[in-house]
């Protein structure tokens, strides 16, 4: 039997698009179902930080090592959507100075190349930075365009014959007699028609909505949508990413992107990620934090204000950790339900390796022996997501 295994991926965010690409390269027939458009969930609203791992090199070194490796890789395979000008971690008070030693040794352990810079050097590089800076480190941070990163993976998948069905909302699953998921029921939101897509395996890659989707199969996945606010200002006040040299906190990072500077973020839980109202006190907090790092921002008008819902995994979950940074649930193991896998968590910078590890698991289940090839090839031009006919 020479037919390719048919895989359905629900969700066209970073996870879904990267996974579609990886699986098509390994010889699967892939269909992606998305109720909205590419990256219209959490992925689209990331502030766009291409992590160097500096933010985690003290508290979570496994995550940090993974970040710097993927940072270097993405810079090779996805130049088309990345601004790579490096970043700075700046110390502004005694507590930052104390933290700096842990930071330096943590960065070294994780393989993140840093260089200590004096106050004068920093101000020369970034004249708009706060005069309260004492010293700092340069690190290989970057920023990226969220949509075009997802589109790059999606285009690469389409080039290898994956099919993306946007505006197709999953409304149910068809489960056959032996508790195996055999098909997915979908409504085409343009025409209102119902369609059924058959599959050998279905992957729930809906991030903050993973719980809602798996509910349709009668399975509980403890995903907590955990939004935070982002504020984008209408002026590119720094050319590099500016981080506060401290434990990860709210509003301690400013990211340049096109002609804007973006600050984030906060963290609180909600039930439903479909619509999260903007909390003005959080916006005010971001404005104050931004002005602390770059005083000029006090006078720069805000351009966009929005909430982005991270998918955080609830405590008592039975999912296997393929990595500390994201969770994969093989529902055969956790719920006796064959043909269904949920993948959630993670950050944008590590989407490719998340897809690699998930694809490893999926291919093992499907009996596909091909290895991952996504680290070697440059992504397709994102315009090719729309086929040139």
């Amino acid at each position: 039997m020479n037919t390719k295994p048919k895989v359905i991926i629900i969700g066209a965010g970073f996870t879904g698009c990267a996974l579609a690409y990886d699986l098509t390269l390994r010889g699967c027939e892939v269909i992606v179902l998305e109720r909205g458009d590419i990256a219209n969930g959490t992925s689209g609203r990331t502030h766009g930080l291409l992590h160097s791992g500096g933010r985690y090199c003290v508290s979570d070194q496994e995550a940090a090592s993974e970040c710097i490796q993927e940072n270097i890789l993405l810079r090779k395979i996805s130049k088309q959507c990345i601004e790579f000008n490096g970043g700075l971690f700046i110390a502004m008070d005694e507590s930052d100075m104390a933290y700096s030693e842990h930071f330096a040794s943590g960065a070294e352990k994780c393989g993140i190349p840093i260089e200590r810079l004096s106050k004068e050097q920093i101000i020369k590089l970034e004249p708009n930075i706060t005069p309260e800076v004492i010293f700092g480190y340069s690190i290989p941070d970057g920023s990226f365009d969220p949509l075009r990163l997802a589109m790059g993976f999606a285009a690469s998948a389409v080039v290898h014959h994956a099919q993306f069905f946007t505006y197709h909302e999953v409304v149910g699953f068809v489960i056959n007699g032996t508790a195996k998921l055999s098909a997915v029921e979908v409504i085409n939101r343009h025409s209102g028609e119902k369609q059924v897509f058959e599959c050998d395996l279905c992957i729930n890659a809906t991030g903050a909505w993973a719980g809602k989707v798996s509910e349709m199969a009668g399975i509980t996945v403890p995903v907590l949508p955990t939004p935070g606010v982002m504020v984008s200002y209408g002026q590119r006040v720094t050319q590099r990413v500016i981080n506060r040299l401290c434990k990860p906190d709210d509003g301690d990072i400013i990211i340049p992107q096109r002609r804007m500077s973006v600050i984030g973020t906060t963290s609180f839980e909600v039930e439903n990620a479909d619509y999260i109202p903007i909390e003005k006190e959080q916006v005010e907090k971001m404005n104050q934090r931004a002005a602390k790092l770059v005083p000029l921002l006090k006078n720069v008008p805000t351009r966009g204000v929005y909430m982005s819902a991270r998918p955080l995994i609830g405590g008592s979950s039975s999912g296997r950790s393929l990595s500390r940074t994201f969770k994969c649930y093989d529902h055969k193991e956790s719920d006796g339900f064959e043909g269904f896998v949920t993948i959630t968590g993670g950050k944008a910078t590590t989407c490719r390796v998340m897809a690699e590890k998930t694809a490893d698991l999926v291919c093992k289940k499907l009996g596909v022996s091909a290895k991952c090839e996504t680290q070697e090839r440059v992504l397709a031009d994102y315009h090719e997501y729309y086929p040139f006919n």
Binding site: G36, D37, I38, A39, N40, S43, G44, R45, G48, K79, Q80, C81, I82, E83, F84, N85, D145, P146, L147, R148, Y167, R189, H190, S191, G192, M230, S232, R236, Q239, P256, Q257, R258, R259, M260, V262, D274, Y275, P277, I278, K280, R303, G304, V305, Y306, D381, Y382, H383, E384, Y385, Y386, P387, F388
Partner: protein, 249 residues
């Protein structure tokens, strides 16, 4: 202490295959500082799940939320409600013009992205090149890069009268992309892409593209600058030099 809410009628053009396009009215309580996209998202989440619209980044970098608001092309994620109406007023929302509508506010961006892809423009460029030439380069000539201004939102095509009647016109965005590439590298293929009847010569100077561009691309300026380069190139080609050196127009 929050601002008092406004009551605004959102008239959204609804159309699905087989339907006649019609306006549906959604009265909504809004914070005047909110953006139009926030209101549309709330209408979808709380009032009408059949509404289709496009959104991703919510901060004017992805370019997908372009719509016509009270007849004018806007990027709805950065368009405050108070800038388009008043308390008790109306916000009329329609999809972009000159694109095929898939349903409601979602249009087919395929042919547009094909035109953009054909130019093979560098989406990331040195900061000095990414900005308009009459803007100062803040990088002191250190090679720093940034994503270029054009977010491929399509507002310029919606506002362009030439694009209204001509489906083959490259469009302001693609021509602006060609001009941007030519400022970095000369290429006869790029010239050929611009120098034809449906390229730089199809523009008839309405200048609406630059009026609606939310991202400082100034496509009208770029199209005219492109014409200058094309004419200069044609003129130089009249004199065939034995060694074709790299030309900087």
């Amino acid at each position: 202490m929050s601002e008092p809410k406004w009551l605004v009628d959102f008239q959204i053009l609804r159309q699905h295959p087989g339907d006649k396009p019609h306006f549906k009215i959604y009265p909504l309580e809004v914070d005047p500082e909110e953006n139009v996209l926030d209101a549309i998202e709330r209408i979808w989440a709380k009032k009408d799940r059949t509404l289709t619209f496009r959104h991703a980044c919510h901060h004017s970098t992805c370019g997908v939320c372009g719509m016509r608001v009270n007849g004018v092309e806007k990027l709805t994620c950065i368009t405050a409600i108070k800038s388009v109406t008043k308390n008790g007023g109306i916000v009329r929302v329609e999809p972009l013009r000159n694109f095929t509508v898939l349903s409601d506010l979602v249009v087919d961006m395929g042919p547009f992205f094909r035109h953009m892809g054909e130019t093979r423009f560098n989406s990331v460029a040195p900061v000095g090149y990414a900005s308009l030439p009459f803007e100062p380069d803040p990088t002191n000539s250190i090679p720093l890069e940034r994503l270029v201004d054009c977010i491929e939102c399509g507002l310029c095509i919606s506002a362009c009268p030439a694009a209204t009647t001509n489906a083959e016109y490259s469009g302001p965005a693609a021509l602006a992309a060609i001009q941007l590439m030519l400022t970095q590298n000369f290429s006869p293929d790029l010239m050929a892409l611009a120098d034809h009847d449906n390229g730089a010569w199809r523009c008839h100077s309405a200048f609406e593209c630059s009026e609606v561009c939310p991202s400082n691309v100034d496509p009208a300026w770029r199209i005219m600058n492109l014409r200058r380069r094309v004419v200069a190139h044609r003129f130089k080609s009249l004199f065939k030099f034995p060694k074709q050196e790299k030309q900087h127009a």
